[in-house]
């Protein structure tokens, strides 16, 4: 009976293995040897939720005809941790695509696994692209043990955020723009308790924020850096040669915490700030909930984003202000670093001899043809050029297909592979416009230019410093937030005790490693 059983199972096993492919459908991936070279590209879409380029997108045909490349696109998920999971799972099965976007932290772990090809030889193969895309900072961004393992393309523009204040609220209350932390405190109080919008309701707050944390802007994150900047402790790391190390260890950090704690205790920061996510924060200022915030230039001033605010508050006005000065005269909007988007080539692709083809593809993207096609679409359909040669969304047969309209998004999903923040791009991305209700002339570009003149803390390369392990990171963020919410009482004594614990848990080691890394790579100022 047992034998019968085993034979039966073995038979069925064989059968089902053979029939398994029948269950499946989808694209067969067998590449014909004589035809075009298949390049698999996992890209970070410009606007993931708008959907990928359609199957009949002209780009596919042009790339096939001109470069003999069969481009297979996969849009990475719209969320960073999902991206990391997808890329790492493929890596674990040695199944990475030929060319793919990847975060630096992940790349750090893939390189020692031998899964990534060095790109040092790629620059010479792409002279045009290298000139506009890869400067010295970029080339060293993904360098491990002396070799570059990722093409670091320019990401978002530096210093594109600013501290904004409701000018109309200041005027209503007869207040001046705050220039110091004390004045800021007074304005926040007035915004909270003196009904700055005159609607008779107690529904406004001074400062608005949410937790937005990354490698170089640790808790409480980007939105509150102007506060920490006033105490000279903005950013995770102090990158000055004389005082290099974690800002957390400086006594001024305690003062900044005490200031933030005061904001929270007095109720002059929107109490939702710990619970908000990005969308909630952005919806909140459009509803006039608070009068001071740090916001990105386009998120504030681009036409689509400013329109709801304009409609709700035709008399409302935000202005970009200087970072307030702290007790010792420090002031900063926050730390800035050069932002990159890394595209890496898998070792598998290198082995299959695809590097030259990839270089050809990337170089073509940097040519005029590739640049305009991927950046703005087809001339006459998705854009026209104005007198200065800048793509504009005017005079189009179907306005919904314009590069700046919802319908034009699918054909420009690869635009972050060609953009390098040149002037043409900036003019095209941030055109001047007149607001619908209040008829103000606005331009996100002008706003950005103003934001860039404010005081920032240089911290280039601080995002490449070692990152703490997950437990230490949790201890760090949780501890700070508990001091603010009152779960831990913020006194000098408690603070020092907590710092000691942090150092013991690996904080000191992290600090030392970070400083050593920064020195080794000449990142200190």
């Amino acid at each position: 009976m047992k034998k019968q059983c085993i034979v039966c199972i073995a038979l069925i096993a064989l059968l089902s293995l053979v029939s398994l492919p029948l269950f499946s459908q989808g694209t067969a991936e067998a590449a014909k040897p004589a035809g075009p070279v298949t390049i698999e590209l996992w890209y970070g879409a410009a606007i993931t939720e708008a959907g990928p380029p359609p199957a009949d997108w002209v780009g596919f045909q042009i790339i096939k005809d001109k470069l003999n490349i069969d481009l297979k696109l996969t849009a990475l998920p719209s969320n960073e941790s999902d991206q990391d999971v997808k890329v790492q799972a493929a890596a674990a099965a040695n199944n990475l695509p030929d060319l793919f976007m990847v975060r630096r932290d992940v790349l750090t772990r893939l390189v020692p696994q031998g899964l990534i090809a060095s790109v040092d030889d790629m620059y010479a193969k792409m002279p045009i692209r290298t000139k506009t895309h890869y400067d010295e900072v970029s080339r060293s961004h993904a360098r491990f043990n002396g070799k570059a393992y990722g093409l670091a393309d320019p990401g978002s523009i530096i210093k594109n955020e600013g501290l904004l204040i409701r000018k109309d609220w200041l005027d209503n209350l007869g207040l001046a723009v705050p220039t110091t932390t004390d004045e800021l405190l007074a304005v926040m109080r007035a915004f909270t308790f003196n009904d700055p919008d005159g609607n008779g309701k107690n529904d406004t707050y001074g400062y608005g924020a949410f937790q937005e944390i990354n490698n170089y802007e640790a808790w409480p994150g980007r939105r509150l850096e102007p506060i920490f900047g006033a105490f000279g402790v903005d950013g995770t790391w102090d990158m000055t040669a004389s005082a290099a190390g974690l800002n957390l260890f400086k006594p001024e950090f305690y003062d900044a915490m005490a200031y933030l704690k005061q904001m929270v205790d007095e109720g002059i920061i929107d109490p939702n700030w710990l619970a908000y996510k990005k969308d909630d924060f952005r919806a909140a200022w459009k509803q006039g909930r608070f009068g001071i915030m740090r916001e990105q230039n386009a998120a504030y001033a681009a036409q689509a984003n400013y329109a709801p605010f304009d409609k709700n508050f035709p008399n409302g006005e935000w202005i970009v202000i200087d970072a307030p000065k702290g007790p010792k005269g420090h002031a900063s909007i926050g730390p800035y670093t050069a932002n990159f988007r890394i595209y890496a080539i898998s070792a598998k692709a290198e082995k299959e001899g695809k590097k030259d083809k990839i270089a050809q593809l990337l170089e073509w993207m940097a040519s005029d043809e590739g640049y305009y096609l991927l950046g703005w679409g087809v001339e006459g359909v998705n854009y026209t050029k104005d007198a200065n040669g800048v793509p504009v969304a005017a005079n189009l047969p179907d306005a919904n297909l314009a590069f700046s309209a919802p319908g034009g998004q699918t054909v420009t999903q690869l635009r972050n592979m060609v953009f390098y923040n040149g002037d043409i791009e900036l003019y095209a991305r941030y055109p001047k416009y007149v607001t619908e209700t209040s008829k103000k002339e606005m331009s996100a570009l002008d706003v950005m230019r103003i934001m860039q003149t404010k005081k920032w803390t240089a911290a280039i390369g601080s995002d490449t410093l070692p990152i703490p392990n997950a437990d230490l990171k949790r201890f760090y963020e949780q501890g700070l937030s508990e001091f603010i919410t009152g779960k831990r009482v913020l006194t000098k004594d408690n603070w020092n005790k907590w710092l000691d614990e942090f150092k013991k848990l690996g904080g000191q080691d992290w600090n030392d490693k970070g400083v050593a890394f920064a020195k080794e790579n000449n990142l200190l100022y």
């Binding site: 989808g26 694209t27 359609p54 998920p77 674990a92 969308d279 952005r282």
Partner: protein, 304 residues
Amino acid sequence: MANKKQTNRFTSVAVKPTAADHSFNFVVDVFLVLLLIIIAVPLWSTITLSFRPNDYIGNNLEGMFLAPWNWSTAAYKALLGNAGFILAFGNSIKILIGGVATALLLTIPLAYVLSIPSLPGRRYLNLLVIIPYVFNVGMIPSYLLVTNLGLIDKLAAVFLPGAISTYNCLIMRSFFEGIPNELKESARIDGASEIQVLILIILPLSKAIIMTIGLFYGVSFWNDFFHAMLYLNSNKLQPLPILLRNILMASGMNEYVEVNAFGDAPIAAIKAASVFMSAIPMVIAYPFIQKYFTKGTLLGSVKG
């Protein structure tokens, strides 16, 4: 069968209801009404959220009382206009049908065999089924398997790894066990094979549980985001949960904030609307399945 004059709807025996019966009915109805309110209010606030116009400034409480003539359908229009929506919907339907069919074909026989009391080695077979349920080794071991089977970038990769859920299988088994033994035994004595017993006796009596388990499978495949994200690469294979996730997580890293992919609709409305749009097929399916939930399914058979 049911006589409307009777106070008790379970039987044909007429009995005068006691005070205890009245209190029971009262408690049951109060409980249901309370629950109805607790469930309906947040749902309603989400529905009104999906109809909010772009320039809405009231607070959340006021939002629930937004008059229908002020509702904006921009979010729904934008979603239907999304190039990928119809395609993703189609892919999800394919996964749903393929998945539920495969899952039921695999689960029903296994659940039935496990329910046969006289089966030699039944105890060990049950353990064999339970062990992988308890020991979840996680993403990478499964990913390696799917890769080795050549299932990467095939729709089947989304449902095959979950085509037998031990949970569903054991629930089904316990229902099969609940079917009165005399029915099965009489068939066996008549010389029916187990396959015949399953098809002729068990299946007709198990419509409710098969529909229920089918629903469980269907919903899990319909909602599955994680496997689809891991295993599917081609644009044209992306199912609805991927699209949905891309919408829900959009602002997380969209750096081209100057463009709104959905025109005039506020992002909160888009998020809420996309959830309702994607849940529609499962919501429509439920009343049909409820039809099989008729009381006393076994009545005729046991007596006869």
